[in-house]
């Protein structure tokens, strides 16, 4: 904890550069060593009620209030948010945990965003639905330690034992005398104390939480967002800054052969055209290279780029045609693949089956398309680099900048702005590296802006997939065998040459972790090459895997004349722990211990039954309406969705209602959970109905919201209802940002079948049922 004295608030600020001033303040105050005495860092993982994978992440967790909390003499508590804010609400929710544990009054707290510095703050990779899951415990410890330090300071002043005082609502009260001291009065003395040892710290009784679990806290940037004063990636302005856009190779693997900038340079305001370095693919998140146009503003840079003539080198990926590739993947899926889970004897089960039912599903490639296209500002000078960027992984960005620029750790600074959406795209920091390289070359601050076309045509795409499922039925129509083949290029193709197959991290998201009670199960993956950059998109491989498995369950139900929900519950089977670790090649449990987060079919059944009841499963529907259901254990949460569709006589589909139930363990901010799930319904509908990036001759065929449509307000579900399963502190917190995207598409397509008897096995639905 730090005491802030306003007379000592660090270096003076440049008023035009809002982010610099914020950084200077942070550097001058929160990070200042001068006011911190004997900051002993809490042992990592101390006091954890449950063990997570957080400490296996780079730089683990930190919970020291000397790092995260500062109090000024007026009592304003400043709490550091070290995870990136992309819309999930973690910038509000984690500091709220600290505030609640330290008995602070939220209206007297403010939140500042940490720069990228994992050595100091612990892991900052805001990805994998991990922020609350991995940091709710360290942030509780942090708040509780801060509370104890304030209580110790008050007890010392009064000359009483610390057990006689208690922090309540931003002050510490002496129970016997009623004397009290505001947090501001105690700040200097409390900040001078060492961090208490873990065994001294007492966490609050969850029944006494004031904010956690209540959901009545506005997000911290609400005023800034609604007044246009919140700072996103493109909103940082530095003195003498140059504005750049880059023309990147149209086909992956191409490079600049030659270019003609004469027309571009004739445009008013266009200052310079230059080649920028690209890396040979695969190159993790290194830039693609191309030709940069620098101008007096972004608009003129775009006009200059439109006037460029560039000749590109040939690339082997120019053969990539996504329609042909789909046929190749289909052919692969019809042959045995590499076995990644094997239980019982699938061959015998198939041979002796009374009936075998099979289906093939396809999910295309798609782009993230966050509303804020990638953008970054960099200033490289005097052997130092400073970057302002909307990055999901500020620590990873920091490391990649050091490597790319050849600078040591302490000569690079990554300032994290708000992220205008991300969904996995901004886990890859190529845009920040581009800005830094251009700044280095131009010896000036540079902002690199991606246009929407850049974003859709140079994404790290969600991989296309073919999924083939076969079920063996015995004479009683019981499912006794399940073979699931999954063919898709691996996202590891971004990191290594030709991994050939999906890796454990990928097939463990909805394929091998199948929670069904079936005696004979085999999961296989088929070989597929990548011809574009592959990344991860919200809920990742759960999108195609859940689409396939949950549609297939509904197909089985139809085939057998059963109710889809009853069929689903029968396949899930009795409440139990499913443990596929022994029968799977390297089961990946979202990076967390299986013991903490087992596959619990009781909880899976629970959300199915809850959502079915709430949605009125089986109720009479108007003509043309249908309901579909799907469930998934996704990022360690259990989430089930019922979608109701209405299909008119022309085949136009609308969604009158969505119901989603989530069991995410102990939760902090239910209001933001609801908002995430409302949003997941809309993103899920976009994925189901519209999303596809197709390729011809290696070139993406879509470029903007005209040919890459997303759901708009007039197409959105009319009502989305969310039910959160209440849980105590004994049920470990699980992911929320991603899970609800996964069950939407299958629930939607199952609903279309219920309404029209038309089975959708290929996404997007597009005009497949239009008449």
């Amino acid at each position: 904890m730090t005491h802030i004295d306003k007379s000592d608030s660090g270096p003076s600020v440049q008023p035009m550069v809002e982010n610099v001033s914020r950084r200077a303040w942070l550097k001058g105050v929160v990070a200042s060593g001068s006011l911190i005495v004997a900051a002993s860092v809490l042992p990592r993982g101390a006091m954890a009620a449950w063990k997570t994978g957080a400490d296996a992440m780079p730089h683990g967790t930190v919970s020291d209030p000397h790092v995260f909390v500062a109090i000024d003499k007026d009592g304003i508590v400043t709490i550091v948010a070290h995870r990136s804010e992309m819309g999930t609400g973690s910038k509000t929710s984690l500091p709220m945990v600290v505030a609640d544990e330290m008995s602070a009054d939220w209206s007297r707290c403010r939140v500042v965003q940490a720069p990228g510095d994992e050595v100091k703050y612990g892991n900052q990779d805001t990805d994998g639905s991990r922020s609350l899951r991995h940091f709710v415990q360290p942030m509780r410890q942090c708040g509780a330690a801060a509370r104890l330090m304030l209580e110790m300071a008050a007890a010392k002043r009064l000359g009483v034992d610390v057990s006689e005082v208690e922090a309540i609502n931003h002050e510490v009260v002496h129970r016997h005398s009623g004397r009290s001291f505001g947090f501001g009065e105690l700040a200097a003395e409390a900040a001078a104390l060492p961090t208490p040892a873990p065994d001294q710290i007492r966490l609050k009784d969850p029944n006494s939480f004031r904010y956690i679990g209540t959901g009545s806290v506005p997000i911290v940037d609400l005023f800034g967002i609604t007044t246009g004063t919140a700072t996103y990636g493109a909103d940082v302005r530095l003195p003498g800054m140059k504005y750049a856009v880059i023309l990147r190779p149209p086909v992956l693997g191409s490079k600049v052969k030659s270019f003609d900038a004469s027309a571009a340079l004739k445009l008013p305001g266009v200052e310079k055209v230059m080649e920028v370095k690209g890396w040979d693919w695969p190159a993790k998140f290194q830039p693609l290279g191309g030709v940069a146009v620098i101008a007096r503003n972004t608009g003129m840079a775009i006009k200059g780029r439109d006037a460029l003539k560039v000749v590109w080198t040939e690339s082997p990926h120019a053969v990539y045609d996504s329609d042909k590739f789909r046929e190749e993947m289909l052919a692969t899926s019809r042959k045995p693949g590499k076995t990644v889970r094997n239980e019982g004897d699938i061959d015998a089960a198939m041979k002796s089956a009374a009936k075998v039912i099979s289906a093939e599903y396809y999910v295309p490639q798609f782009a993230h398309a966050p509303m804020e296209p990638p953008v970054a500002t960099a200033w490289v000078r005097d052997g130092m680099a400073e970057v302002w960027a909307p990055v999901q992984s500020p620590g990873g960005t920091h490391d990649d900048l050091c490597k790319t620029l050849g600078l040591p750790y302490d000569k690079v600074k990554v300032n994290v702005t708000l992220l205008g959406g991300a969904f996995g795209r901004k886990s890859k920091c190529d845009f920040a590296l581009e800005a830094a390289l251009l700044s280095q070359a131009l010896n000036a601050p540079v902002r690199v802006q991606w246009t929407r076309e850049d974003d859709i045509q140079h994404d790290f795409y969600h991989a296309p997939a073919v999924e083939r499922i076969e079920a063996a039925l015995d004479g009683n129509n019981k499912v006794v065998g399940w073979r699931h083949r999954n063919v898709a290029p691996s996202l590891f193709s971004t990191f290594m040459p030709d991994p050939k197959y999906q890796q454990p991290l990928e097939y463990s998201m909805g394929q091998v972790d199948l929670p069904f009670e079936i005696a004979n199960i085999r999961c296989e993956v088929g070989e597929a090459a990548a011809h574009s950059r592959i990344g991860w998109f919200r809920s990742v491989r759960n999108v195609p895997n859940t689409f396939a498995t949950q549609c297939f369950v509904a197909e089985l139900a139809h085939e057998l004349g059963r109710d889809p929900k009853e069929m689903l519950l029968e396949l899930i089977g009795a409440p139990r722990i499913v443990d596929p670790r022994k029968t799977t090649v390297d089961l990946w449990n979202y990076g967390d211990p299986f013991e903490t987060y087992p596959i619990d079919t009781g909880r899976l059944r629970g959300v199915v039954e809850l959502v079915a009841e709430k949605a009125g499963w089986g109720r009479n529907l108007p003509a043309g309406h249908g309901m579909g259901i799907a469930v998934q254990r996704c990022f360690l949460s259990y989430v089930a969705t019922v979608v109701e569709v209405a299909v008119d006589e022309k085949g136009n589909i609308s969604v009158p209602r969505v119901d989603t139930a989530i069991d995410c363990g102990f939760f902090v901010n239910p209001e933001r959970i609801v908002s995430q799930i409302e949003g997941a319904a809309i993103m899920g509908l976009t994925v189901a109905k519209h999303s596809a990036v197709t390729f011809k001759n290696g070139v993406p065929q879509q470029g903007n919201f005209n040919d890459y449509p997303v759901v708009r307000i007039d197409e959105a579900p009319r009502a989305t209802h969310v039910y959160i399963v209440p849980n105590g502190w004994d049920v470990p917190s699980a992911g929320v940002g991603e899970p609800a995207t996964a069950p939407f598409a299958p629930a939607f397509c199952n609903a279309i079948f219920a309404a029209t008897q038309k089975r959708i096995r290929s996404l997007p639905v597009g005009d497949q049922i239009s008449l």
Binding site: F223, G299, E372, G679
Partner: protein
């Protein structure tokens, strides 16, 4: 030289007259509240008011903005307390927040013209504004609250 009024202040611009107003506002006038989302008038993130009407500033050339009165999110209300802004806060609308300036400017223009819009009128007016996070249910609720007074 092009002269225009932005949030009640006179601004001058001496560059290419075909420059989209968006980039003048953002990069030259130092008003970054107006966002770039698509550049083709497809997403509404750059919505501002020109002579009182909601327009996509990425599709208005500086030559067409000459002599006009432009209002951006920064100038919608001197204290940031326009009824639409208050309604947005009452419902905790935003997730990432990036599109919200455009949404708010669009909603403010709608309510000025149609103080009590029907659901269909809200949909028609707001359909040009994309929210990729999917805050539409709350946007619709906030427009209704703003119409009835917060």
């Amino acid at each position: 030289m092009i002269t225009l009024s932005v949030n009640g202040q006179e601004h001058k611009y001496d560059g290419d007259p075909s420059l989209p107003l968006l980039w003048f506002l953002r990069d030259e006038a130092g008003l970054p509240g107006t966002k770039f989302g698509c550049g083709e008038a497809l997403c509404g993130a750059c919505t501002v008011h020109v002579n009182g009407e909601a327009v996509r500033s990425c599709a208005v050339q500086m030559s067409d903005a000459a002599g006009k009165s432009v209002v951006t999110i920064e100038g919608l209300d001197p204290h940031g307390n326009h009824p639409v802004q208050r309604a947005w806060r009452a419902v905790n609308v935003p997730q990432c927040g990036f599109c919200q300036a455009g949404q708010i400017m669009q909603a403010a223009a709608l309510l000025k013209q149609t103080p009590n819009p029907t659901d269909a009128q809200i949909h028609t007016a707001m359909a040009g504004n994309i929210c990729r996070c999917g805050c539409y249910q709350r946007i619709e609720a906030a427009v209704r609250i703003a119409a009835t007074g917060v």
